[in-house]
């Protein structure tokens, strides 16, 4: 078995710090902290620590510390802050440390315990599984350092509004660990709002210290961190992180026999992947991301069977949103306890919900789709000093029969893996865009605020929530529509007192009383496909979905005839038969334009990455040959029998919008990762029609066709009109983008 190869890394570019800087930084530290540092046996402070000590001791501004894992960021922030906390006179907690995972909090607790004891500063873990005794003591006499999750801050606002101010009203600093995990999505918005609320009850704004892995866009992270405050100082130290080991294995499905033989399943690519993974992952803790729930179940089942057949204890457990919470927590507990080796086989979208710290390696079925999540996943591996972060990609490729679709011959999944790992080396991270979770988080924070402060008028609520930072995108009119939507229905979420103030309605009371209320992210959600009352199965859908959209599922094409967004059900009818591209396309994540472009680049290039196994390398070579044969460098069209593939080399959002546009002018079309398939349209006809397209209609018009608007936890309670309005706002910038795309296609076709 070949060892994973090492990916070449970029050279560090930061200016080295001099010896005298180190000495000066050390001198700045509290004597007790100096003693502790010496006791650790460190020869000298690391660069990131030196610079952080200088910055944190030198001014009162926010500081963003970006460095690789295991570079000593935690100490960089805490050494100077704890020294100041030891000399503090004020009552109340001095330092609030926020981290996305309980497991991480427990690790940091161990790390800081000794130092805090030396300084006689309290150190309290505060999350759902933390011991109760220290929490009670903290409530009685708030002081020292508190390590907490965003969800526990939320719980404190809702359940102990009276204590929040006593606890967090006089903070010196808020340290936010894994800041990169909060820059996008509902959890980030949620934390942003919570920090804003802490500022609002504070005597003076606590300075914020952000800790992050090396970031794509440091400026954006700095702005997020500062919130309403002034620009933070950015301390970025490259290199020094855990080495990265990568491997991508491709497995080709066996040829289909007719009639299908009994052992076909046993010879399938998934079975082959399971055999390899079983051998290689056993004995360690790992995470295996497998895309959809169906994949997770199939893979976990195979791995379990292999354990049983081999007479060894099973170490592989499924983890997805439709499993009972207890089962999921059992898997997490097994991973956290670290007694028995465990591999969680999880859906891609559930990763925020897996509360475990570090694992030995990360595996993934299917090509990476989002660089942000790839980094996030890799960040869970190789956290221990001296260990490498390990990533294993498994790709299934279809067997190419004589009449295979040309799209399959491009071997896009292998090309996508190469493209994604190339972008990883380039440190690309998808830049944040208008956040689809904005309204959902607003609903959540509305409920939370009313629960915290009691009945309030609409204008007070708006001023408290809807005016700052990312929430500024919500206009007063939107806010009023939102409130009206929440105040309607059989079981209203809000109700109004005769004096005009808004209170929790029956639904609002029910939601805020539940334990699920504190978390703002949703578990993975899949759509149910129903054909004439018969459920076909479930799959994640991220592209824009409209009546008439074509979906591939279970080896066939289906046309959506009715869409029930709240229930997440699509009523489909069978689309005309015919061969369809077979590559693995099921996933819950959109791909970015830059990745789509990099896929094209991977097919144009000629170098062969070392991390590809021989099969994958072979397939990439074949895909490149096909790319040249189809002349795709010049033409965007691929003829595929009665259908035509239009290669846009753009990401999911643009393709989804383009498909809605083509649907609105009468085409039947289906999207794939880097393009759109025009069904029943031969390539010459497609060229003719596409050449004659007259720009992009207004986004408002296209928005009317989109039916899957509710994605986030509270979206189901938001009026559809408002969701649509925000969909249009988020996609407005695409209007020129798509028009541009049309122009370029027309140019290529002329």
């Amino acid at each position: 078995m070949e060892q994973p190869k090492r990916l070449s890394r970029l050279k560090t570019t930061a200016l080295p710090t001099s010896l005298s800087d180190h000495a000066a930084a050390f001198d700045r530290l509290h004597p007790q902290v100096q003693r502790w540092v010496r006791a650790q046996g460190w020869s000298q402070l690391r660069e990131v620590q030196t610079r952080a000590i200088t910055a944190i001791g030198g001014h009162r501004r926010d500081v963003l510390i970006a460095a690789t894992t295991a570079a000593g960021k935690t100490e960089a922030a805490f050494l100077p802050l704890l020294g100041a906390a030891a000399a503090r006179q004020d009552r109340g907690v001095a330092i609030l440390y926020v981290a996305p995972l309980k497991a991480l909090i427990n690790d940091q607790h161990k790390r800081l315990e000794g130092l805090c004891a030396d300084l006689e500063i309290g150190l309290t873990r505060w999350h759902g599984d933390a011991p109760q005794g220290p929490k009670t003591r903290l409530l009685k006499s708030p002081e020292g350092v508190v390590l907490i999750t965003p969800e526990s801050i939320e719980a404190m606002f809702v359940r102990r509004p009276a204590s929040v101010e006593a606890l967090f009203g006089r903070l010196d600093a808020i340290v936010i660990d894994e800041l990169h995990a909060f820059l996008q999505g509902p959890r980030g918005l949620h934390l942003w709002s919570l920090l804003h609320r802490i500022d609002a009850i504070s005597h003076s704004r606590a300075r914020r210290i952000g800790l992050s892995a090396t970031l794509g866009d440091k400026q954006h992270a700095a702005e997020w961190l500062a919130g309403e405050g002034p620009q933070p100082e950015i301390i970025a130290v490259d290199g020094g992180g855990a080495p990265l080991k990568l491997q991508v294995r491709a497995v080709v499905e066996p040829p289909e026999t007719s009639p299908p033989t009994a052992d076909l399943e046993a010879r399938s690519a998934l079975a082959e992947i399971a055999r390899h993974a079983h051998e290689i992952l056993r004995g360690k803790n790992n995470l295996f991301f497998a895309g959809s729930r169906a994949n997770v179940e199939a893979l976990a089942d195979r791995l379990r069977t292999l354990s049983e057949d081999g007479g060894v204890p099973n170490e592989f457990f499924p983890h997805h949103g439709s499993l009972a919470k207890e089962l999921r927590e059992e898997v997490e507990a097994r991973l956290k306890e670290d007694r028995l080796p465990t591999t969680a086989v999880a859906t891609t979208t559930l990763e925020l919900g897996i509360d475990i710290g570090s694992v030995h390696s990360v595996a993934q079925l299917g090509a990476p789709r989002s660089l942000a999540s790839l980094r996030q996943r890799l960040g869970r591996s190789g956290r221990r000093e001296g260990s490498a972060a390990i990533f294993r990609g498994y790709i299934r490729e279809p067997y190419l029969a004589a009449d295979a679709d040309p799209l399959d011959r491009l071997h896009l999944p292998v090309a996508q893996s190469v493209a994604a790992l190339h972008l990883l080396a380039e440190r690309f991270v998808e830049p944040p865009s208008g956040d689809p979770a904005l309204l959902s988080v607003t609903v959540h924070q509305l409920l939370s605020r009313i629960a915290e402060r009691g009945a309030q008028r609409a204008d007070q609520l708006y001023r408290a929530i809807g005016r700052d930072g990312p929430f500024a995108a919500i206009e007063p009119g939107d806010f009023a529509d939102l409130l009206r939507g929440l105040g309607g229905g059989e079981e209203p979420m809000l109700e109004q007192a005769p004096d005009g103030s808004l209170m929790l309605g029956p639904l609002g009371e029910r939601l805020t009383a539940s334990r699920d209320f504190y978390a703002n992210f949703k578990t993975d959600e899949e759509w149910r496909l129903v054909n004439q009352g018969r459920a076909l199965g479930t799959l994640p859908i991220v592209n824009a979905l409209a009546v008439g959209s074509i979906l591939s599922f279970a080896g066939r094409r289906w046309r959506a005839v009715a869409i029930d967004d709240p229930a997440k059900v699509v009523e489909v009818v069978a689309h005309r038969a015919g061969r369809i591209p077979k590559f693995d396309r099921v996933s819950g994540e959109p791909i970015h334009d830059r990745l789509a472009g990099a896929i094209r680049d991977a097919l144009v290039a000629s170098d062969m990455p070392a991390y590809l196994d021989p099969v994958a390398a072979q397939l990439l070579a074949e895909g490149r040959d096909m790319f040249a044969a189809l002349d795709l460098a010049r033409t965007p069209l691929i003829a595929a029998g009665k259908d035509t593939h239009l290669m846009t080399w753009r990401g999911s959002v643009a393709n989804g919008l383009f498909a809605v546009l083509l649907g609105s002018v009468g085409f039947e079309c289906e999207t794939f990762d880097v393009g759109v398939t025009l069904l029943g349209t031969p390539s010459d006809e497609a060229a003719h029609v596409l050449g004659a397209l007259d720009g992009c209609p207004p986004i408002e018009t296209l928005g009317r066709f989109v039916s899957n608007l509710a994605h986030e936890k509270y979206d189901d309670y938001i009026p559809e009109d408002l969701l649509r309005r925000f969909w249009v706002k988020r996609h407005a910038h695409l209007e020129t983008d798509v028009a541009d795309m049309i122009r370029r296609i027309a140019l290529a076709l002329s």
Binding site: R160, A162, I450, A451, R453, G454, A455, R457, A458, D459, Y462, R463, P476, G477, F479, A480, L483, R484, G487, G488, L494, E495, Q496, A497, P498, D499, G500, S501, L502, M503, L504, P506, G508, E509, T512, A513
Partner: protein, 434 residues
């Protein structure tokens, strides 16, 4: 009120100042009170019953600005006249009847801080009530022999059998020891304990050697103790006034509301059954606090059946035997009298000093009616405020003509959120309705 009563100048200033600010004056209510004779009569009967060792409970229900607070203040004054002790507090998000996070203790503390007697009508009467009790005991010790502590002990005999009674007696003995030894700190600690201002048992034990404090769970029991105590100190009873009960309606958790209603039910049961001596409760609240079937008192089955109003008492017919009193709106005639009374207060009761003739009163009402319609009868607060300002201008500018001023008077609709200044921002959300 054909023959205006004499008004003292100091009273006059207090009244005018308070009315101009839209709040109820602390003194001189009798000079301006009009109408509501039946309601006042019913409450007078209640107070008499309390003074006779009985008990009573009333819910005073009226819209924002309908004069609830005025009415409650008047009732308190009457109670003081009948030699009762009154305590009162407004409910707030951090002050409620049942709680576990110190909010009930907060309500109790606030109420006891406002303890009033006839001689100390402005509140802060706790120490004088305690002093009076102690001096009774001292007298008893002098005449009957024995120590003062023994006298305290015997006097408080019946209290000591009640919940928390032992520590209550203990605290009073501490107060006596403090005053005997000139230990002001000990006296202050005892008063602090009685005001439920000790947050923890440890602190109370260190200061006073008692094992318990008045905490969230003990509020009602402590009020019963207090009622017994004031009678032992020589007063005729204790009247407890809790206003702004709408804050319970506004609690954002069904469980919290129900726990408060449960406590209210306990009080209602005890008071209606007469199982407490010399104790009366008066609750003030808006109609939604009573009537809302999801979050009001009526949402609590047992309270709804006890508080349901007499169905025959409608269309102008009244029944004052039920615990709920709805403050009827002032009639236009009442209003005219009220304006006349205010005019008379301005003139210190001297008819010759009236700032405006009778015609001006009618014209002022006509003006209000035109500007905001009949709503001004329902919520007199703003109308009175405007009238007081109107008179104040006339008084300070002797040359001014009332006929000209009248047109310039601006009236606001009462939105019930008078305490809170609304930052005028044009986001269109200030008057949002669902």
């Amino acid at each position: 009120m054909t023959q205006p009563a004499q008004v003292k100048p100091r009273e006059r200033d207090t009244i005018v100042q308070a009315l101009a600010a839209g709040v109820v004056p602390r003194v001189g209510l009798q000079h301006i009170q009009v109408g509501r004779a039946i309601e006042v009569g019913a409450l007078v009967k209640d107070i008499d019953r309390i003074a006779d060792g009985g008990s009573s409970v009333r819910f005073i229900i009226g819209e924002y600005g309908a004069g609830k607070t005025f009415f409650l203040s008047l009732v308190r004054l009457i109670a003081l006249e009948r030699r009762c002790v009154t305590i009162h507090a407004d409910l707030a998000p951090d002050r409620r009847i049942h709680a576990t996070g110190g909010q009930a203790r907060g309500l109790y503390a606030e109420a006891v801080r406002h303890m009033a007697t006839r001689t100390k009508a402005d509140g802060g009467a706790l120490s004088s009530v305690v002093e009076r009790f102690i001096s009774e005991c001292v007298k008893e010790a002098e005449t009957g022999g024995g120590t003062v502590e023994q006298a305290i002990h015997t006097r408080l005999g019946e209290i000591q059998d009640l919940v928390g009674g032992h520590d209550f007696a203990q605290v009073l003995k501490c107060y006596w020891r403090g005053s005997e030894a000139g230990d002001d700190a000990l006296k202050a600690a005892a008063l602090r304990w009685l005001r439920a201002e000790y947050p923890t048992k440890t602190e109370a034990r260190q200061a006073l050697g008692v094992r318990s404090i008045i905490d969230d769970a003990d509020v009602y029991d402590s009020l019963k103790l207090l009622a017994k105590f004031v009678r032992l100190a020589g007063y005729s009873g204790l009247v407890v006034v809790f206003d702004e009960m709408v804050n319970i309606y506004k609690l954002q958790s069904a469980q919290a509301r129900n726990q408060n209603f449960e406590q209210i039910l306990r009080i209602v049961n005890d008071m209606l059954q007469g199982s407490s001596e010399g104790l009366g409760f008066i609750f003030g609240g808006t109609p939604e606090f009573l009537m809302d079937s999801r979050r009001g008192l009526y949402s609590y089955e047992a309270l709804q059946s006890r508080l349901a109003e007499n169905q025959f008492a409608a269309q102008g017919l009244v029944d004052m035997t039920g615990p709920v009193i709805r403050l009827q709106n002032l009639s236009p005639e009442d209003f005219l009298v009220l304006l006349g009374n205010i005019r008379s207060v301005f003139a210190l009761g001297d008819v010759s000093q009236y700032l405006v003739p009778d015609a001006a009163l009618a014209a002022f009402m006509e003006h209000c009616n035109k500007r905001i319609g009949e709503a001004y009868f329902r919520t007199p607060r703003n109308t009175i405020k405007a009238f007081v300002q109107f008179l104040a201008v006339l008084e300070q500018n002797p040359g001014a003509e009332w006929t000209q001023l009248l047109g310039a008077i601006a009236l606001e609709q009462d939105d019930g959120a008078a305490e809170e200044a609304i930052a005028a921002e044009d986001d269109g959300l200030a008057d949002f309705t669902l």
